[in-house]
């Protein structure tokens, strides 16, 4: 079985995002970019399934500017076998990404597609579910455990009140939550090896998919700032404040 893992290049999660003064977006010039953390977890899960003998090949896919190549090299260094880059200078929305992934899935015929549950730049949390709709496959979103046996994948999902387990017939879509696994670091030899792994470059036009955006961003602003408050000296003073707030009698 082949596993497809879509990975997105995003602002590193440790970098504090800064809104551009002209209100057109968040400043991404000269800041550290990394693989979306949830996608690292997806890559890790796919590699583990290959190591267990469940999967035979792990293919990483990224859609974005040419630099997304770096993100794919990271996936290859972690252990993915090959990569596909679909270049687009314009931002591609989740619906467009899902359509491209559907076209790639038609070509590659994977048994599983493991995505992140959400990209931490736009916080959309949509692509996996959309891809599941377009392929007509089952979806195991927000996964904290994934178990493949025969032609079924059993997924434990993190839900508001606790956890839920569903069984999906393969092929299927899984999206990762934070506790699914702890992604490995790529070793130096593996980083070197990744440089010679196959990476195919395509364009959206190659797949004949319409990815024109449906949404327009009118402006991007900073949220209302909270004023830093006061520090109290001790518990008694804190209780005084709580009383003033009416929290305690």
């Amino acid at each position: 079985m082949k596993i497809l893992v879509p990975v997105k290049r995003v602002l590193d999660y440790n970098v504090k995002p800064r809104v551009k003064a002209d209100g057109t977006g968040v400043d991404l010039a000269n800041v550290k970019m990394s693989m979306n953390p949830f996608d690292e977890i997806a890559v890790e899960e796919a590699i583990r399934l290959r190591e267990k003998g469940v999967a035979t090949e792990v293919v990483a896919v990224s859609i974005g500017e040419a630099k997304a190549q770096e993100t794919l090299r990271t996936a290859l260094a972690m252990g993915a076998d090959r990569a596909i880059l679909v270049t687009s200078e314009d931002k591609v929305e989740p619906l467009g990404v899902a359509k491209l992934l559907k076209a790639i899935a038609d070509e590659e015929a994977p048994g599983l597609i493991i995505l992140g549950k959400q990209a931490i730049d736009d916080d959309n949390n949509q692509t996996g579910q959309m891809l599941a709709a377009l392929t007509g496959w089952g979806q195991g979103t927000f996964a904290s455990a994934v178990e493949v046996s025969g032609d079924t994948v059993t997924v434990t999902r993190e839900i508001d009140g606790g956890a839920e387990t569903v069984a999906l017939s393969l092929p299927a879509i899984v999206t990762t939550d934070l506790r699914l696994n702890e992604p490995r670091y790529a070793s130096l030899p593996n980083i070197m090896k990744a440089k010679s792994k196959p990476l195919a470059t395509k364009t959206a036009a190659d797949y004949g998919v319409d990815i024109a955006p449906r949404l327009s961003t009118l402006k991007v602003e900073e949220p209302a700032k909270r004023q830093a408050g006061v520090k109290v000296a001790d518990v008694d003073e804190l209780i005084g404040k709580l009383k003033a707030l009416g929290v305690v009698a």
Binding site: L11, D121, D123, W137, V166, R226, L238
Partner: protein
């Protein structure tokens, strides 16, 4: 414009998140609800009583018992033939279903709206709430998820909507429910609690979390939350997590105990009315958003506070 609001329920009662979604939908047009489930007559009755609702569609069938997206999305897509917007609370169920519906309708979803700006235009948080984008849709229909903390709750009584049964669309055969572990708690639910006490990595272990955080929460009648670090370390179950990728909360009072204030955590609680932080590091970022800060050792401060309340 006719809107269709997804009713979040537990099989017996309508969840509060629905009421915020109703408020958002009412700003767009006439509000219709969809109750999908199995044996959901009572839920439908309760839904029909929500103020401002015109109609309640009820899909009562075994296929909808666990709100599997594979079964629910085609049902919603059919109903969207005569609705213009599908409005969904940003719950784990809502987030699972809405994009599947959007793709079936060939529509780009707008996630986690904070406000309705008119004319298919909405604000929403991006980058863990570090930026707010105003976006406009050019699609023929809207699919929206609604951040509960951003909209007032519609009144749960006073309405008298018509209840209409909808034919079930069958079972997809792609997915089946196996089991669930729903944590039972006497405490208020995080997303509707008025007061929340949250603990972080500093609690060191599950026993300390129990012994320090729970008694304070008991005294305050509060819900209990946690940072991801505390959840990851196994002090508490995952459904306690507050943050960008956990629950978004905005209680009257949020007490952060031994939590540093990483942006991913702040994303889930910085709209709380009053934030109280207890941390031994006076430079911890949590103090930049806290209204009231107390610098010191939580293992001394919290028991003293609990004792004196």
């Amino acid at each position: 414009m006719n809107t269709l609001v997804w009713v979040e329920h537990d099989g017996a009662a309508v969840k509060d998140a629905t009421l915020s979604a109703v408020t958002a939908a009412a700003q767009l047009g006439e509000v219709h609800l969809l109750v999908a489930g199995h044996g959901v007559g009572d839920v439908a009755t309760a839904a029909a009583a929500i103020a401002g609702v015109g109609k309640v569609h009820v899909a009562d069938d075994a296929a909808y018992a666990h709100a599997l997206a594979e079964n629910v999305a085609p049902l919603v897509a059919t109903l969207m033939g005569h609705h213009d917007a599908f409005v969904v609370p940003s719950t784990s169920t809502g987030k699972n279903i809405a994009p599947r519906v959007a793709a079936l309708l060939d529509v780009m979803q707008i996630s986690d709206i904070l406000s309705v700006e008119g004319d298919a235009t909405f604000t929403r948080p991006i980058y863990a709430g570090n930026a707010i984008a105003t976006v406009k849709s050019s699609d023929a229909k809207l699919v929206l998820t609604v951040r509960g903390t951003a909209f007032a709750k519609a009144a749960s009584t006073g309405g008298a909507a018509v209840i209409e049964a909808v034919a079930a669309a069958g079972d997809s055969g792609k997915a089946s429910f196996v089991s669930s572990e729903i944590a039972k708690s006497e405490r208020p639910e995080l997303t509707s609690a008025k007061i929340i006490v949250s603990g972080g990595r500093a609690l060191q272990n599950a026993e300390n979390f129990q012994a320090i955080i729970e008694p304070l929460a008991d005294k305050l009648g509060a819900g209990v939350g946690a940072s991801r670090a505390a959840v990851d370390a196994g002090y508490v179950p995952n459904d306690y997590q507050v943050g960008q990728t956990g629950k978004i909360v905005a209680p009257e009072v949020y007490v952060a105990v031994g939590i540093s204030g990483a942006i991913q955590h702040l994303a889930g609680m910085k709209d709380s009315k009053t934030i109280i932080a207890i941390n031994k590091d006076e430079d911890a970022p949590i103090f930049q958003v806290a209204d009231i800060g107390l610098v010191g050792d939580l293992f001394k401060i919290v028991p003293e506070l609990t004792g004196k309340l």
